[in-house]
Amino acid sequence: MIATESLSKRFPRVTALDRLSVDVGPGVTGLVGANGAGKSTLIKILLGLSPATEGRAEVLGLDVATKGAAIRERVGYMPEHDCLPPDVSATEFVVHMARMSGLPPAAARERTADTLRHVGLYEERYRPIGGYSTGMKQRVKLAQALVHDPQLVFLDEPTNGLDPVGRDEMLGLIRRIHTDFGISVLVTSHLLGELERTCDHVVVVDGGKLLRSSSTTDFTQTTTTLAIEVTDTDDHPDGTRAVRDALHARGVDVLDGSGGLPGAGHILLLTAQGDETYDLVRDVVADLGLGLVRMEQRRHHISEVFTDTEQGSEQSTEAQRKEAVGHGG
């Protein structure tokens, strides 16, 4: 679907992309990176709107430098920012955008009705967009990217500003774009946890460089982190410490899940080696007579991926970058 070869983009003061080579196949692909990692720049280049400083890129087998218009006819783009005029209805707006993609008037109307229904907008679609909730606006933005039945869509931060329920619905919708509609997706986010639930493949970029590109199962299969929270009792005024000591006595290393945040000191993180670990935790907590408030799987956050990679590769250790990543996580 997408292939880039040592793609670079330099602005007078910043290097947005630094010799990025990545291959993206069909399916849902997540593009993860902190703010300013070069995600939006990459999308602009892939749409043929901004020339790369060096290197080359292909989308759907078409060269971005020469076949920009042909690419833009066959891909959809949902920007990160607001892009909807408030004084027209969703239907009018999406019909207009469909015609802008080259659909004849009748087809544009038909496809608009279909697409708005698929993204979950029903009677509201005849009302002016100005009165919509953030979730509904995101759906309109998604609909305009899908209305011309592209082969590939670029979704730039589609879950931005949504509440947890809205986020889940949007992620479900993104999944359906591939499974039900047969359209490949490139979706960006700065939250890895969110993307690994949705994507088949995740590409992590930072500072314009490729940090990692692998299928999502690789990310989750390496290790599973278990988060535990217990109650305190009269016998054990500090239940968390008691569990940590007891687990330590049985040879299980426990990480402190605090991360410097207030209140988080009550959460213990440990690496699950399999079902035995769950049993062990259960037994330990029961023996101590504590209540188990939570025991859940923690998936990796983007910061962990960055830390892992940094430990693995010693070549990229700019102090400034580390700091940026720390804040990004």
Binding site: V75, P79, P85, D87, V88, D149
Partner: protein, 305 residues
């Protein structure tokens, strides 16, 4: 682990009238008409938008009102000409737009920002440029749409005058010539005003600023030029009058049409530019239209995504 409940299969009630068909996602295999079609669609949408069509009722009020205000005096003149059995219309075709310039300025000031500032303010522009059309297509469609809207506004009253004149059985050849000259003049005026209006409006995403700026540029330049011309007239330096007229859009059009389109000049003293000066007027007018287009192109190269 909870015991898994056997999944209940949905009961299909055969024989019921109500049934939901999930037709699922349908792919589109029809034609994709590409860039020029998209540009034309943008043109027609912008042209309709300039009269509030396809927009809210509120946004139809002003353009429609101005259109009526533009046409009513023409209708009255026709009525007077028919009733008094006059030999000629009370006003030349070419003079009409000059006399009604306040209405035209108001129209361009309200509709130029509507056409481009909204796309900038609500950041709709990236959605256009992520589609097959290019910067040039967008600029051309918007420019052409606003110029056409202005042409409709300025040519409609001329049409009223012309039809009225023929009904009043005025000389056909004479009237047709005047009408044609009037049309050429308002076509030039439409292009020039559309260019000026769009360039100013495309700089600001705020519609209010756009409206104020367009009105200011059109009225202040006209006010300053006619004041200076009046002073020149009093001081008997009538040679300067024509050159001063180059500095405002309305007097520019006035100069062009009095030099080449048989119009009587509205300049003080009624003396328009000579043929040589008139050529300069035409060059400046065309140059300004081209500059407007060029500036818009430059502006939108930067907006991009």
């Amino acid at each position: 682990m909870a015991v898994e409940q056997p999944m209940r299969t949905p009961v299909t009630q055969s024989g019921d009238q109500t049934r939901i068909h999930n037709i699922g996602y349908r792919t589109y295999d029809g034609p994709r008409l590409g860039r020029s079609y998209a540009t034309r669609s943008l043109y027609s949408q912008s042209l309709r938008g300039a009269y509030g069509l396809g927009r809210s009722v509120k946004s139809k009020v002003l353009p429609m009102l101005l259109f009526v205000v533009m046409c009513v005096p023409a209708a009255i003149m026709v009525a007077v000409a028919v009733a008094t059995k006059a030999n000629d219309l009370p006003l030349d075709y070419t003079r009409y737009a000059i006399v009604m310039q306040a209405v035209i300025s108001l129209y361009i000031a309200s509709q130029a920002p509507q056409s481009v500032s909204r796309d900038l303010r609500f950041k709709t522009v990236p959605l256009y440029f992520s589609r097959p059309i290019e910067t040039a297509d967008y600029v051309r469609a918007k420019f052409a749409a606003l110029a056409s809207a202005l042409f409709i506004l300025t040519a409609a009253p001329l049409l009223v005058l012309y039809v009225g004149a023929l009904l009043a059985k005025l000389d056909f050849a004479d009237q047709t010539k005047g009408f044609a000259q009037g049309l050429v003049s308002v076509a030039l005026l439409s292009l020039l005003f559309a260019g000026i209006g769009l360039v100013i409006a495309s700089v600001t995403p705020r519609r209010g600023f756009g409206i104020a700026a367009v009105i200011a540029v059109l009225t202040i330049s006209y006010g300053a030029v006619s004041t200076l011309q009046a002073i020149a007239e009093v001081q008997n330096s009538s040679g300067a009058i024509a050159w001063i007229g180059l500095f405002s859009p309305v007097t520019l059009i006035d100069g062009v049409q009095s030099a080449f389109l048989g119009a009587t000049s509205a300049f003080p003293g009624g003396v328009g530019p000579t043929n040589g000066e008139g050529a300069v007027y035409v060059l400046v007018t065309l140059g300004l239209i081209a500059a407007g287009y060029g500036l818009l192109m430059r502006r939108y190269k930067k907006v991009g995504l």
